[in-house]
């Protein structure tokens, strides 16, 4: 692939081997998901040149490997921000901008998009957690990167802070116009940010999907993530007993349902539907009724049957099993 990001990297540490390859488009946000220790951060480090690895990395036809990190044009938003403590916010944001010759007007737009104007003269030691993350993102974007890597940039923040920052994050990354690879194991982050997903496990890419997330409900222990979404994982028997109005945010094979009144998804398409027969083996939920044709901009699903008892909320991306939406 000449356009976009292409990598095939291998490295070995005691007890861990990374062997990952993928071709990604030249724009949009890709979530890199997988359990802890699956090699997500290591892969990001290798792409950025911060970890020695064998193989190749090309971005829009330009070979990045084995260039040193400062020549790759790959900016990284680290998990722990890594702001320069001896500089104020403006100094941090200007650091990469000066070295990469970013137009000051572009920097001003980034500062405005992330609402950092009032903080520019403040010492980074006096920033809140959310402000720190926004400054780290602005610093990376101001360097005019050809590729943006984000390593769990919202980790350690509580749900309220995350809610506060996610819109900034999404808007600023898309405005930058460069592809972004975003490591997360947070369901909500990937739901709200990513256009496509790479699943990773044991140091390997195990699935790729455009929009739909290759995620099994088995990956959601104790319904924890679903609760974070204000949802619950719907098991077949529960689906049959569901008398209230629910919103469905999952594919036909498994389901997360959400009380309609708790649904706060401004980017969701909400359509009427009815939970149907869930008795069939291997099918958690079956939706009966008339066919609904989904706008292609929201989903790859050609149609889903709709009914009356609940609402179907399609947020980006839909959940889907096993990377069946792989477009490669």
């Amino acid at each position: 692939m000449s356009e976009g990001l292409s990598f095939d990297l291998a490295l070995g540490h005691p007890g861990f081997t990374l062997s990952a390859s993928a071709d990604l488009p030249g724009q949009g946000i890709t979530a890199l998901v997988g359990p802890s220790g699956s090699g997500k951060t290591t892969l990001l480090q290798a792409i950025a040149g911060l970890e020695a690895a064998a193989g190749h990395v090309t971005l829009n036809g330009r070979a990045l490997h084995p260039l040193p990190p400062h020549k790759r044009g790959v900016a990284v938003v680290f998990q722990n921000a890594r702001l320069f403590g001896h500089m104020d916010v403006a100094g941090n944001i200007g650091f990469g901008a000066r070295r990469r010759g970013t137009d000051p007007a572009a920097v001003a737009r980034i500062v405005a998009a992330l609402d950092l104007g009032p903080l520019m003269g403040r010492s980074v030691s006096r920033l809140s957690g959310g402000e720190t993350r926004r400054v780290a993102l602005a610093r990376a974007l101001a360097a005019s990167p050809d590729l943006l890597l984000l390593d769990e940039p919202l980790s350690g923040l509580d749900a309220a802070r995350r809610d506060e920052i996610l819109p900034y994050l999404s808007r600023a990354i898309r405005a930058a116009g460069c592809p972004a690879l975003f490591v997360t194991h947070d369901l909500e982050e990937s739901l709200r940010l990513a256009d496509r997903h790479l699943a990773m496990d044991g140091g390997r890419i195990t699935g790729a999907a455009r929009r739909p997330l290759a995620l099994r409900l088995d990956d959601i222990p104790d319904d924890h993530m679903a609760r974070r979404l204000g949802a619950q994982v719907l098991r077949p028997s529960q689906a049959m007993r569901a008398a209230e109005r629910w919103s469905l945010v999952i594919d036909p094979a498994s389901a997360i349902v959400m009380r309609a009144e708790r649904l706060h998804a401004p980017d969701a398409l909400i359509l009427p539907a009815r939970l149907g027969n869930a008795q069939g083996a291997g099918r958690a939920v079956e939706i009966c009724g008339q066919d609904v044709v989904w706008p292609s901009s929201l989903s790859d699903f050609a149609s889903v049957a709709g009914g009356l008892e609940c609402q179907i909320a399609i947020r980006r991306p839909l959940f889907r099993l096993d990377g069946t939406g792989d477009d490669s």
Partner: protein, 220 residues
């Protein structure tokens, strides 16, 4: 006479401090960042003046810098003057003797900066030296100041090595500590008191400033 010794000590300390910062910084950086197996050996050699009696160091330096030894002979050919019993010899000896006082605070400060922050600088387009100059060095500024102050103060007070390498030549190698020694030998307690009290108070002030910085009470 007193002011000759004070001026000589100040010149020696200032020059030693500058040289130690210039040489100690790359050495400390290497020690802070290397994974080489040689690091413990280099650390031990660097720290040797902390535990070695000054006379031992002075004795070997005297042999090394004498006109019969390669280093001393080279210096004699190059400058027409001997390295021993000369100001230049004092500078060399002081640099070696005060080396750990410069390297160790610098190394500690560079370790505290950590590789992560330099990786961040690199991903923002900073080449390694640029990252060192614009990120690591400013972040380690307290360590740099501590190294400079300790090197200066330690050189101001050194005695054994100076006496061994430089002797006691007024205006040339007779620094404050040697002047005090000479004054006491001649029962000139007044001069000894003035110089000793001056060193005592200035050393106390210097240490107070260093500990103040390290506790972060005063911003630098």
């Amino acid at each position: 006479m007193i002011w000759d010794a004070v001026w000589l000590s100040l010149r020696l300390s200032a020059l030693t401090t500058l040289i130690l910062l210039a040489l100690g910084m790359p050495l400390a950086w290497w020690l802070a960042t290397t994974r080489s197996r040689l690091r413990p050996l280099v650390e031990a050699v660097t720290a040797l003046p902390l535990v070695l009696p000054p006379t031992v160091l002075g004795f070997y330096l005297l042999l090394l810098m004498s006109p019969d030894a390669p280093l001393g002979a080279f210096w004699l050919r190059a400058t027409g003057d001997t390295l021993t019993f000369n100001f230049a010899g004092l500078v060399v000896a002081s640099c070696l003797y005060s080396l750990p006082f410069a390297v160790q605070p610098l190394q500690t400060a560079f370790v505290a900066v950590g590789p992560g922050i330099l990786q961040a600088a690199a991903t923002l387009g900073a080449a390694p030296f640029d990252a060192f100059r614009s990120v690591a060095l400013p972040m380690a500024r307290r360590g740099v100041l501590t190294a400079a102050v300790l090197s200066f103060a330690h050189t101001m007070g050194e005695f054994g090595v100076v006496l061994m390498v430089g002797g006691n030549i007024p205006g040339r190698t007779r620094v404050i500590s040697v002047e005090i020694y000479s004054a006491v030998e001649t029962l000139d307690y007044r001069t000894a008191h003035i110089l000793s009290a001056g060193l005592l108070v200035s050393s106390l002030l210097v240490l107070l400033v260093v500990y103040g910085w390290n506790r972060g009470r005063w911003r630098v």
